[in-house]
């Protein structure tokens, strides 16, 4: 039997496991795993599969900015309305309503600082309910989605030991 939790745990570890390998690791039939996976996708629990990349190793390093957004609400406008308006832009990697000193935490990906700055000043800041933006450019990424980029854990064990 492969439960949803087991399949999710495997995907979280490596979304590229074959159905067969997921089945072996959970002692389930491949068809069961396939069905569980389809169900997770149909219900929208699994929203997609993407590689975790270290952009600093690319020739053209992409630029990421984390932006604090402050907003004012009125009777006609809710957080959801503002979020929907901002999240639709393809350059928005993620958008979350958060507690604390500001309202939304926005992550923007672009090819250059110029592009990201232009996007924030031309598309985000002018939204009437947005009263303030504070942009933080990411300088170095050490860990992303649970993966340590500089994981110096070389295998220094003896090749054969009792």
């Amino acid at each position: 039997m492969s439960s949803r939790a087991e399949v999710l745990a495997l995907l979280d570890e490596n979304a590229r496991y074959s159905i067969e390998d997921m089945a072996r690791q959970t002692e389930a039939e491949p068809d069961e795993v396939r069905a569980t996976l389809e169900q997770l996708e149909d219900e929208g629990i699994v929203q997609g599969y993407r590689a975790v990349t270290d952009g600093s190793k690319l020739d053209e390093e992409p630029v990421r900015a984390v932006v604090e957004l402050n907003v004012t609400l009125d009777r006609e406008t809710s957080y959801d309305d503002i979020a929907e308006r901002v999240a639709r832009f393809p350059m928005v990697e993620s958008l979350q309503l958060v507690s604390g000193d500001f309202d939304f935490m926005l992550t923007v990906d672009g090819d250059s600082m110029r592009e990201v700055s232009a996007f924030i000043s031309n598309k985000v800041a002018p939204v009437p309910e947005i009263t303030q933006t504070v942009t933080h450019y990411v300088m170095t990424t050490y860990k992303k989605q649970g993966i340590n980029f500089d994981d110096g854990h070389d295998d220094d064990r003896l090749s054969v030991s009792p």
């Binding site: 570890e13 690791q25 959970t26 002692e27 003896l158 090749s159 054969v160 009792p162």
Partner: protein, 378 residues
């Protein structure tokens, strides 16, 4: 320089020759490693660093820091074990020291020590260094390498003063339940045999809860339980284990320990306290990963038609050698495919015709090794 006779008598470990063969090659994928592939949980490493920064570099109490002994007492309650941190727990430099102390504390010259085999390579030499005579108790594939009343009787263990075994087992991955241990316990009581129960892999029992013989009636007073941090918390190099037993037994072991080791490594003790206090999630995550690998390995063996009983613990599977002699097979496999598996003969009686496959290896490497094995045997 001439070694003493008792040292001279003990040969080098059978695993050594295989290690040398594997070391000759660069591209080896090793399924021959007897320790975790994970690093110790960061919080435990951080606690060790902090202890060093604060200059905590003195000896501790002989028996180990009291805070650690108290944490150990709490930790082993999950197995139904209750030991007094002041009198009944001894922190040692690795579980290996605890095993050695148990041998030296309770074996008189000429005593017979029944050693359930196949097993970890240190027991028999340890018994001999302590002046005892080793009586191999050959467990069988037909019993899934569990210890039974029958194999104990057949091997002549009734005459032994001490019995030593390890479950979950290295090298077979076998485990034993309370019911199965009850047979062993009855035999030990009947023939007045003391038991050294190496439970270093207790945290890695996958199909049922770990069972300790010391929880069975009349056994606590005749059992030394050995456990430690190496396997569960991936802390092998920090060298920290512990022994649990009745006050007089632990007192005897501590007498040797205080004159020879003084105290277990202090830095490691700080790491271990943190491991017990806050690394339960990491332990669970490592355990879950071993379990997935175990299932992968067993499934692949089945698909390849390799006969392997269901390994239920530690991080080993113990398949029957697909063809011929296991030593020759392991050597040929290493030579032709670069995959290292240790022949069962390295682990004593009953290991012949089998291979120890360690799945303490990342899943990508594990899959590659199994692919190579599959091509090799087909």
């Amino acid at each position: 320089m001439r070694a003493a006779d008792r040292v001279d008598r003990v040969g080098p470990s059978g695993i050594r020759r295989f290690f040398e063969l594997a070391e000759e090659r660069e591209d080896v994928i090793s399924l021959g490693v007897g320790e975790p592939d994970f690093a110790a949980p960061w919080a435990a490493r951080d606690a060790a660093i902090t202890a060093l920064e604060r200059g905590r570099t003195s000896y501790t109490a002989n028996r180990g820091k009291r805070e650690l002994r108290m944490a150990v007492a709490d930790h082993v309650e999950q197995y139904g074990l209750a030991y007094d941190p002041d009198e009944e727990i001894l922190v040692t430099a690795g579980a290996s020291e605890a095993v050695d102390l148990a041998f030296r504390s309770f074996i008189n010259p000429g005593d017979t020590v029944a050693v359930a085999q196949p097993c970890y390579v240190s027991y028999a030499p340890g018994v001999e260094f302590a002046g005892g005579e080793v009586l191999p108790v050959r467990t069988r594939r037909a019993d899934e390498f569990k210890l039974t009343r029958e194999v104990l009787r057949e091997s002549g263990a009734a005459a032994a003063e001490m019995l030593v075994y390890c479950y979950p087992n290295n090298p077979t991955g076998a485990t034993m339940t309370h019911e199965e241990l009850a047979e062993v316990a009855a035999f030990a009581r009947e023939h007045d045999i003391m038991v050294v129960s190496d439970e270093i892999y207790a945290a890695l029992s996958y199909d049922h809860e770990h069972a300790s013989i010391a929880t069975l009636p009349g056994m606590r007073e005749r059992t030394i339980v050995v456990n430690g941090f190496s396997k569960a918390y991936a802390m092998t190099g920090l060298r920290l284990g512990y022994a649990l037993g009745p006050a007089d037994g632990i007192g005897a072991m501590n007498r040797i320990h205080q004159y020879t080791m003084l105290s277990a490594p202090t830095t490691a003790q700080y790491a271990a306290i943190e491991a017990l206090e806050s690394c339960g999630d990491e332990l669970a995550a490592m355990r879950a990963e071993y379990d997935r690998r175990r299932k992968l390995v067993l499934s692949r063996f089945e698909e390849m038609g390799i006969d392997c009983f269901r390994a239920r613990g530690a991080f080993y599977a113990f398949p029957a050698c697909p063809s011929g002699d296991a030593d020759a097979f392991a050597e040929a496999l290493l030579e032709e495919t670069g995959v290292a598996m240790v022949p069962g003969t390295a682990f004593g009686a009953g290991g012949e015709g089998h291979l120890r496959v360690s799945y303490a290896t990342g899943i990508d490497e594990l899959k590659e090794a199994l692919d190579r094995l599959e091509r090799f045997v087909s």
